[in-house]
């Protein structure tokens, strides 16, 4: 079963503003029954101030779709339409303390329903330009359409290119088969064939770093990755450096879970790029594993 945050569960079990809104003057409908989720967002907008006085929703969809709809209505009530349009899908996910990568599209649907409702109010036609494909990279929640488009428009030809352009494949690497298949397909359209290229060797050593510079760079990498981890309710700290071994401690949702290994791998990769040498990242057990967003199903 999915690891839903408390907040998601709470909004699913007790959805706010559920049901049709009788005196709505703006309605946005998005989704599709074939994809398994559909959302109708209804707003009551004050014509004077363009402020959203009330919001309601009807949703056909899974737990996180219902929770995202509920969260969205709570978030935008009291906002003006322009303020509401600043609410991104990430904001919806954050409001719910995160969504599993497979479920991020639920928050996207919320954001789109909002755009559609505002367009409806303003007498505009909202056009969806977002197409969704099968989820390829679970680490970074990136789907096939996104990868394919990026490969096509940037003439990419290697897995490393895809990692650099989309992040897909840059974590646990389990999705490389899927990425190779997309590359094979798009390259065939260009009349080329997919060739396996060896992974890039760590950045050519640019002369030896001073000890101080080396420590600084290590600290910088740690600081750079922390915000992303904290967003997932985790954290990382530098504990010690011993030659080529760098000891870190993982905290919160990231400790001890499946994601830990791939997080470490990613950080280690960044470390090597920053230092231009091989280093090994070793986690020191400081905290007990917490169940997190780590192991869906």
């Amino acid at each position: 079963m999915w690891e839903y945050s408390e907040k998601v569960q709470e909004h699913f079990f007790n959805p706010r503003n559920a049901g049709a809104l009788g005196d709505a003057n703006a309605t946005g409908e998005v989704g599709s029954i074939s994809c398994g989720d559909a959302l109708r967002l209804m707003l009551k907008v004050d014509p004077e101030s363009e402020r959203i006085l009330d919001a309601g929703f009807q949703t056909f969809g899974c737990g996180s779709a219902i929770a995202s709809s509920s969260a969205l209505t709570e978030m935008i009530k009291g906002m003006t339409l322009d303020e509401a349009l600043k609410v991104s899908n990430q904001d919806i996910a954050d409001y719910l303390d995160g969504l599993p990568p497979e479920k991020m599209h639920c928050s996207v649907m919320g954001r789109e329903a909002l755009e559609a409702a505002v367009a409806n109010y303003r007498g505009e036609v909202w056009k969806d330009d977002h197409e969704e494909g099968a989820l390829i990279c679970k680490c970074f929640a990136i789907d096939a359409v996104m990868i394919e488009d990026t490969v096509r428009s940037n003439n990419l030809s290697t897995v490393q290119d895809v990692i650099n352009y989309t992040k897909a494949g840059g974590g646990c690497a389990a999705c490389h088969e899927g990425i190779e298949e997309i590359l094979t397909k798009v390259l065939a359209e260009r009349g080329e064939s997919f060739k396996v290229t060896p992974p890039p060797s760590p950045v050519a050593a640019t002369g030896k770093l001073s000890t101080l510079e080396r420590v600084k760079r290590i600290q910088q990498v740690i600081e750079d990755v922390r915000p992303a981890l904290q967003r997932d309710r985790g954290d990382i700290e530098l504990v010690d450096i011993d030659g080529k071994t760098i000891y870190v401690s993982m905290k919160g949702a990231c400790a001890g879970c499946q994601m830990e290994a791939l997080t470490l791998q990613g950080v280690q990769q960044k470390m090597m790029e920053a230092l231009g040498e091989f280093v090994k990242l070793v986690p020191v057990r400081a905290t007990t594993p917490a169940p997190g967003l780590c192991n869906p199903k």
């Binding site: 029954i33 989720d37 099968a134």
Partner: protein, 402 residues
Amino acid sequence: MNPIYLDNNATTRVDPAVVEVMLPFFTEQFGNPSSMHSFGNKVGLALKKARQQVQALIGAEHDSEIIFTSCGTESDSTAILSALKVQPERKEIITTAVEHPAILTLCQTLEKDGYTVHYLKVDGKGRLDLDEYAKLLTDKVAIVSVMWANNETGTLFPVEKMAEMANEAGVMFHTDAVQIVGKLPMDLKSSKIDMLSISGHKLHAPKGIGVLYLRRGARFRPLLRGGHQERGRRAGTENSASIVALGAACEQALANMAFENTEVKALRDRLEKGILAQVPNAFVTGDPDNRLPNTCNIAFEYIEGEGILLLLNKQGIAASSGSACTSGSLEPSHVMRAMGIPYTAAHGTVRFSLSRYNTEEEIDRVIAAVPPIVAQLRKLSPYWGENGPVTDPEQAFAPVYA
């Protein structure tokens, strides 16, 4: 409130007596069955007994036709890849559109490698067209692989008949019998089935143990080569504790076969009738007259399965769904789509799969729990009006993209 487990097609609890039987194999009976000393010898005898217990359950002619593997998936892969290997000139495979991913994903990969795979279609009740099948049976086909019972709906396929047809055409026949073994009696020695897959964890044995039945004389190439375990047909030191457990579970399944087909079946029917009597716009998927005694799959229209599962789970009831959301894909179950179940219902399918551990009191609790849950979710659904589906749902709710 005690939890109610109705997801036995996903996996089952290991029977306490089975656990008891396997424990010594972690402690004093730790020997390697291949060893010459007495530590190993006793284990070897225990494996022999287990092999015979499996043999008895499936009615195999010889106990050497039982090959222990690590799971149902390994058995499936071994069977198909072996058939391709021994007949390199045959480049076609026949299977069905509703197989488990253990077969389907393998077949899709084989297609990329240049094989042609024929996926037999099913009708609205999940039944095959044997005329279509007969036409495909040519000397280009290396193997037919057809599941005996479908894991989502419990629908049974006429594999004994299909194996005979294949045999007459000189084509090897494999069946993924993971869901049926232990639930319905079978007698392989009087069939033309060449290979058959079993998975321990579906019949109250542990996870990570499986069997490939291989008819004596059927040509075979191992997947794993190495030591001489399983007569060289599946190398790797035997998982003795789990093998012994599987043997014990098979013996129990045989003893409980009548119970499964009377008592468990009656509970399943009670559940199904109880729910359908109270919930409008709900129907049974698959072929109700020809299915496993423990399985019932109900489609609840205009709502999404994951929501149902979450609300059931809150009341301690475990079931599963063919909705897209539960699997993380965008498509509802391939089984529902193959049967042509409309999207408005396919996303709302819930599978209840019982075992001999369920009680009437549990079933009555579920019958009471389901209708309010469905009503609650329909209240949120844009496809549902005051007292029923909105007229012409596709029209009434036409989202911007579809």
